[in-house]
């Protein structure tokens, strides 16, 4: 059953250089209890997609298209209606656990608030539930920690608190926007394992946003690769990562340092030449044309065709065959 259906989502930001279409015609479906990863570099529109689903776009931005949660278009909802969706039906975990908690309130109070708001719990019940949640997210001695202020906790513990907050009302969908970017690597793994286990146990769907291919490849069933506000490649994670077919995805993958590379010390880190295009004046045609090694004149006038190269594996490129051949021969 389809839980979330994003159809032709376009997010426009008003900037001094004119309107910038930061997300363009993005469509995807997320089934109940399934996981989706969105990967791409900074500014590719992945966080704005999440904020558009939550109805939390900045003042200068607006969304068009459809974002349907169980059949209802969230973009038509009023602010009051959205307040009832946020935190209750969709939970969200943010990138910066250091600054995502109010320094003036105890963590227990901040977790309890959602449940008192959405579930109408009284203080005593909410406190008991907070203790259960803190225990569930792996915080030792919950009874002691419930009265702690954010600055008394480590980054990893704070992110666990954020997860407890996001899950407190048992949402149908969890959006995790770069949940481990601000944490060091050992904690990253713990947090991701925790999120994945909780998702499985509670039967929630998840959208995991990251610029880290490793994080995406290990934690989600389906993946979308975004570049310049558009989807360039998507499909089942295993299929996409075994047969990367878009020049951008390939470049992103090559740029990951390989620790088992025997000639690692002599090999220079591969990069994608050039910089991300300015969103306010994107080129006509393919957004990746300026940085692509396969580019031809045919790429420039019109957006690339969308092609299904394997079951569910979709690529938006004019030179998919050439790119696939090059990747296989590498």
């Amino acid at each position: 059953m389809t839980l979330l259906s994003v159809d032709n989502l376009t997010v426009t930001l008003k900037t001094v250089r004119g309107p910038a279409r930061a997300v363009r015609n993005l469509s995807f479906d997320l089934q109940k209890g399934e996981t989706l990863g969105i990967v791409g570099e900074s500014g590719c529109g992945k966080s704005l997609t999440a904020l558009a689903i939550m109805g939390l776009l900045p003042e200068n931005g607006w969304a068009e298209g459809r974002v349907s949660l169980a059949g209802e278009n969230l973009l038509d909802y009023s602010e009051d209606q959205m307040c009832r969706v946020r935190g209750d039906r969709i939970g969200m975990v943010f990138q910066e656990p250091m600054t995502s908690l109010n320094p003036l309130h105890t963590v227990g109070k901040q977790i309890a608030e959602s449940m008192m708001l959405h579930r109408g719990m009284n203080k005593t019940d909410a406190r008991a539930e907070v203790l259960r949640l803190l225990d569930m997210v792996g915080i030792p001695e919950p009874a002691k920690r419930v009265g702690s202020y954010p600055h008394q906790l480590s980054g990893g513990q704070r992110q666990r608190v954020m997860i407890a907050m996001a899950l407190s009302c048992g949402p149908e969908l969890l959006i995790a926007d770069e949940p481990t970017t601000a944490l060091d690597v050992t904690i990253q793994k713990q947090i991701l394992d925790l999120i994945r286990n909780l998702i499985d146990d509670l039967g929630m769907a998840m959208i995991l946003i990251s610029h880290n291919l490793g994080v995406i490849s290990q934690n989600v069933k389906d993946v979308i690769v975004m570049y310049g506000g558009t989807r360039v490649e998507s499909g089942p994670t295993h299929e996409v990562f075994s047969n990367l077919s878009h020049p951008y995805s390939q470049g992103l993958f090559s740029a990951v340092p390989q620790i088992d590379d025997t000639k690692a010390s002599r090999r220079r880190l591969t990069t994608i030449p050039g910089t991300v295009p300015e969103l306010a004046d994107l080129p006509a045609g393919c957004t990746f044309q300026e940085r692509c090694t396969f580019v031809t004149d045919a790429c420039r006038p019109t957006p690339p065709p969308v092609e299904e190269v394997a079951k569910g594996h979709i690529v938006a490129c004019l030179h998919t065959d050439a790119a696939r051949a090059a990747w296989a021969a590498r």
Binding site: R84, G87, S100, P103, H118
Partner: protein, 282 residues
């Protein structure tokens, strides 16, 4: 707290201008309270046989043209100054903070409207505005206080809106919104507690300005009416005798200066103590 900072009170005591300001303000408050129950002499009762007595142990600061004990009048005058400060700052804060928070939560044209309206009020010299209001509403202590309160509304509105906007941009606000909290809840639970320290500092400074403004209005005869003791009116009454008995003007002038200085030092000190980062930069 394991923040590695010395405790709040310890930092207060280590701050020289905070201590000096606290002492001066303490004396002001103390004399106002004591004068409610006791003054060396009756500050209102005239004694024409003892006019212009020089300072002595009996009359610490001497007597005025009606033979009233100046020390007693100054003590009682502190009541007037404090009530003016408390009431007008309360008026200014209640409306100003509410408007600032509203502007910051709504943004868009609501914010523009509120802020341009306060800019408009801000453009008038405060004391002129107060005189205008008192002239329209009629002279008297209450009207003076209300007028002073009204002209501090835009000060608080601007400050609140600026500080609140900075808080609205913080990540924990986004997290609170993602948890489904409405703007009113976020304003009360997250924004206000985080800007309260800025407001407290501004309140002490606004308090000093209110005392000054009230003295000016009373000096012009638009504030507290006789026989209520008021420092501003004492100055006015001393004006004609300034070359015969200059201390009649010096004492209330010194009292006003001490009160204003004390509150300003306290405000500066509080700002440093509340935000240690600012103090270290100096």
């Amino acid at each position: 707290m394991d923040s590695g900072q010395p405790s709040f009170w310890r930092r207060c005591l280590a701050h020289r201008s905070f201590v000096a300001g606290g002492l001066l303000t303490g004396i002001l408050v103390l004399s106002a309270i004591v004068s409610l129950f006791w003054t060396p002499w009756d500050p209102i009762k005239q004694n024409l046989r003892e006019r212009f007595v020089a300072p002595s142990w009996e009359h610490l600061l001497g007597t005025d043209q009606f033979g009233r004990d100046i020390f007693s009048i100054i003590m009682t005058g502190a009541q007037n100054s404090i009530s003016v400060g408390v009431v007008s700052v309360s008026i200014g804060m209640a409306f100003g903070v509410a408007l600032g928070l509203w502007a910051s939560a709504k943004r868009g044209w609501t914010e523009e409207l509120i802020m341009r309206a306060s800019d408009f009020m801000y453009a008038f010299p405060a004391i002129l505005l107060a005189i205008m209001l008192v002239a329209t509403l009629g002279q008297g202590a209450i009207n003076a206080i209300v007028a002073i309160g009204i002209f501090s509304i835009p000060v608080f509105a601007r400050l609140t809106r600026g500080a609140a906007n900075a808080i609205w941009a913080r990540e924990f606000i986004l997290a609170a919104r993602a948890a489904g909290k409405g703007k009113l809840r976020i304003t009360i639970e997250h924004v206000l507690p985080n800007i309260i320290s800025v407001l407290v500092v501004q309140a002490t400074i606004q308090f000093a300005l209110a005392i000054l403004a009230e003295a000016a209005l009373s000096f012009l005869g638009l504030g507290a009416q006789p026989p209520t003791p008021s420092w501003g009116r004492m100055l006015n009454e001393a004006r004609s005798m300034i070359f015969i008995n200059p201390w009649l003007a010096i004492y209330p002038g010194a009292a006003i200066a001490a009160a204003v200085l004390g509150l300003n030092l306290l405000g500066d000190g509080l700002r440093d103590v509340i935000d240690p980062r600012l103090a270290r930069k100096r």
